[in-house]
């Protein structure tokens, strides 16, 4: 059923430096000081007792045609960032500028036109596809919602989309649970590209899949990006997957961005102690280049009660007095490389 659209090994994205968009372009998406705090409720009247600082003031930009990788451990706020962009969660503070409009301030009802421009691919396609609907229903729904075309047109579109993601037309009248994980994710991708968006939030789109089909799905995403000029915010919890697909990579820790750099650069020259620890955990195929494994002590602090100062100071091997008091801002070290650390380590 799957016709792999490409070879078996994923194209190493980071080597194609020609495709790295020039920073002269106006950014497609610009996030400034985004905060998402969830109230932690208790008592019979469910009053907010504390807040969970899932995202605690981050800045990000995504340029047209670019893939920004967002990595970090479980619970650091990656999904929440993605969900805030599509307003699945309400931003507490900050701006989400998309093509110059602040999405954080648009009333929900008026978001509908923007929905065509920003779509999302979810981690587990078994969860994100309604099992009561046929594949054709699922792929026709975007057009129905936005009142595009008649039934015949929508059906035609659904079949086109299936072909585009490497499935046959026979899939149309089947139900999602009749497919394998990889095929389901293709259906999820087909739905996301149906309205020809500019930006797609990919929330760990391959981490629920078998390793053997991960690269096929990643290649599909790359092909679609090339054909449609898409931008991706590609969320993943390890740097290995992100390396192949991203132009730039942002590393997140406890609701904060600790380092942003080009995908090549961050691998070659990680500057934040947290990034270094993450990278050292990737198995290195070449034994001569083996990095020293950095094992962090302690657990990730709770976002309900984050530590003062640098969010990473409780686990940082280089912690100084200043780190406990003052929160480091992102600062540019070299062109296109930003680190949130007080020191040049």
């Amino acid at each position: 059923m799957i016709a792999s659209p490409n070879g078996s090994s994923p194209t190493a994205r980071s080597s194609a430096s020609a495709s790295t968009p020039s920073t002269v372009d106006a950014p497609l998406l610009e996030i400034r000081g985004l905060k998402v705090h969830f109230p932690v409720k208790g008592g019979i009247f469910l009053r907010a007792k504390a807040s969970c600082r899932a995202v605690d003031g981050i800045d990000l930009t995504i340029h047209p045609g670019e893939t920004l990788g967002l990595v970090g451990e479980s619970g650091c706020g990656k999904s929440t960032t993605g969900k805030a962009i599509v307003r699945l969660v309400e931003p507490t503070d900050g701006e989400i500028l998309f093509q110059g409009r602040n999405l954080a301030e648009i009333p929900r009802r008026q978001l509908k036109p923007v929905r065509r421009e920003i779509q999302m691919i979810f981690q587990d396609p078994a969860e994100s596809l309604n099992s009561r609907h046929t594949v054709a229903n699922i792929l026709e729904e975007p057009f129905i919602i936005h009142g595009i075309g008649d039934a015949e047109f929508r059906r035609k579109k659904a079949l086109e989309l299936l072909e585009r993601v490497g499935l046959t037309a026979a899939a149309a009248d089947r139900f999602p649970f009749e497919f394998s994980g990889g095929q389901r994710q293709r259906i999820g991708i087909a739905r996301a590209i149906a309205l020809e968006p500019r930006l797609i939030i990919c929330d760990e789109p391959v981490s629920a899949l078998d390793v053997s089909i991960q690269s096929q799905v990643l290649n599909l995403l790359l092909d679609l990006q090339r054909e449609m000029g898409l931008s991706y915010l590609f969320i993943a919890h390890d740097l290995a997957v992100v390396k192949h697909i991203s132009d730039r990579v942002a590393v997140m820790y406890l609701g904060n961005i600790v380092e942003i750099a080009g995908a090549d650069e961050i691998y070659r020259d990680p500057r934040h102690p947290y990034t270094r620890a993450l990278l050292s955990a990737i198995p290195e195929p070449d034994p001569r280049r083996k990095r020293k494994r950095i094992v962090l002590s302690g657990d990730v602090p709770s976002p309900i009660n984050p530590p003062p100062g640098c969010p990473f100071h409780t686990r940082c091997p280089h912690v100084q007095e200043q780190c406990r008091i003052q929160k480091p801002a992102l600062r540019t070290t070299t062109e296109g490389h930003e680190v949130a650390c007080h020191f040049d380590l």
Binding site: F45, L46, K83, V86, L88, L111, K112, R115, R116, I118, Q119, M120, F122, Q123, D124, A126, E127, S128, L129, N130, S131, R132, H133, T134, E141, P142, I145, H146, D173, F175, F177, E178, G188, R191, L195
Partner: protein, 357 residues
């Protein structure tokens, strides 16, 4: 369009549970037959051929006795007419239903005290199960009592679910204050004592109301006191489905509240509700019978199992056929419904068939 293979699988499984499936067919058959009851259990003839003309008295207005040469102008007694035609031996004939009594008429017999025993125990001819204390045919009472009970229970189920699902779904979907106030109101509401309310309301309903209106009021009262149970289930089910990614995907596509509720959340929650239906129907039949037994149920002279049971307990020794046939009928119906319920639950059990492996 193709039937969802999971649904098809459940239906196949239901059919394979013989006892429940046959009970289901039998119940459906009985309900359909009861809809045509006027042709089967009735004091009016099905067809009459009189003086070269055809008459079909079953449905429609009464045909006065004078039409057929009797000397009275109230409704023809077709049993008498049949006997007369037989005696005359001419070309006139008529066809009576298999049970030639309606549930309201009390037929007097000379030399037989009411209640009359079944015909095969020496009672007057035609009364298969005898008559009740006012001389009404018990088979006819049971037959129409079943019809009233089953359709009352179905109407009750539909209305209760409609209200319960709507309110529970809204509470689960909007959450927050809606949910909080909803829950507190439901807690208060479900503490109102049902039986006393029914007694009070029934004592103030004017006797001038027609029987159908009174039945409808009873239905509404029962529904008002029963919808809360469904909200508990719907509320949590909606919360759960709303938090799932397919709902998020629909929101990201720009789907509105209506589309999300009707196209996504309801289809995913209602499949479990199917398994509750037979038990709700059984509960409704039980409670309407109990209310009738206590005298606060269906208004007389509506045929009802509970009313027969009440008569039966009062005449336990003198007319045991009343209580035994009413009791047997009630047990028979409830057993069928319960068999269906067990089979549906087994076939549709979401624990057995998870949607996602």
């Amino acid at each position: 369009m193709r039937l969802n293979p999971l649904t098809a699988k459940k239906l196949r499984r239901f059919r394979s549970i013989r006892r429940g499936y046959f009970s289901f067919l039998l119940l459906c058959g009985l309900s359909l037959i009861s809809l045509l009851g006027e042709l089967l259990v009735n004091s009016r003839a099905i067809v009459v051929r009189y003086e070269g003309k055809w008459y079909f008295p079953t449905y429609g207005d009464i045909i006065p006795g004078t039409t057929f040469g009797f000397d009275y102008s109230y409704e023809t007694n077709y049993r008498d007419l049949r006997d007369r035609f037989r005696q005359e031996g001419g070309d006139n004939w008529l066809l009576m239903p298999p049970i030639a009594f309606n549930p309201y008429e009390n037929t007097p017999y000379e030399g037989v005290f009411k209640p009359a025993p079944p015909s095969w125990l020496g009672g007057p001819a035609g009364h298969l199960l005898g008559t009740d204390t006012t001389g009404r045919d018990i088979f006819a009472r049971l037959f129409y009592g079943f019809r009233v009970a089953i359709f009352f229970a179905l109407a009750f189920t539909v209305l209760t679910y409609l209200v319960g699902i709507t309110i529970g779904c809204l509470m689960g979907f909007f959450g927050g204050k809606v949910d909080l106030f909803g829950q507190r109101l439901i807690e208060i509401w479900s503490n109102i004592p049902f039986l006393y309310t029914v007694i009070i309301i029934f004592s103030v309903i004017p006797a001038t109301f027609t029987v159908p209106v009174r039945i409808f009021i009873l239905l509404v009262i029962l529904v008002l006191f029963s919808w809360t149970g469904m909200t508990y289930y719907m509320r949590t089910a909606t919360y759960r489905e709303k938090a799932r990614d397919y709902t998020a995907a629909a929101i990201v596509l720009g789907a509105g509240t209506g589309r999300i509720i009707f196209n996504h959340i309801l289809p995913n929650t209602i499949s479990t509700i199917v398994t509750f239906i037979p038990f709700t129907v059984a509960a409704a039949i039980t409670s309407i019978t109990a209310l009738d037994f206590l005298g606060f149920g269906l208004p007389p002279p509506t045929p009802s199992l509970g009313e027969l049971l009440k008569q039966g307990t009062q005449t336990l020794t003198t007319a045991p056929w009343i209580v035994s046939s009413a009791f047997a009928a009630l047990v028979f119906i409830l057993t069928l419904v319960t068999f269906v319920g067990e089979a549906v639950r087994e076939a549709f059990d979401p624990k057995k068939f998870t949607t996602y492996e």
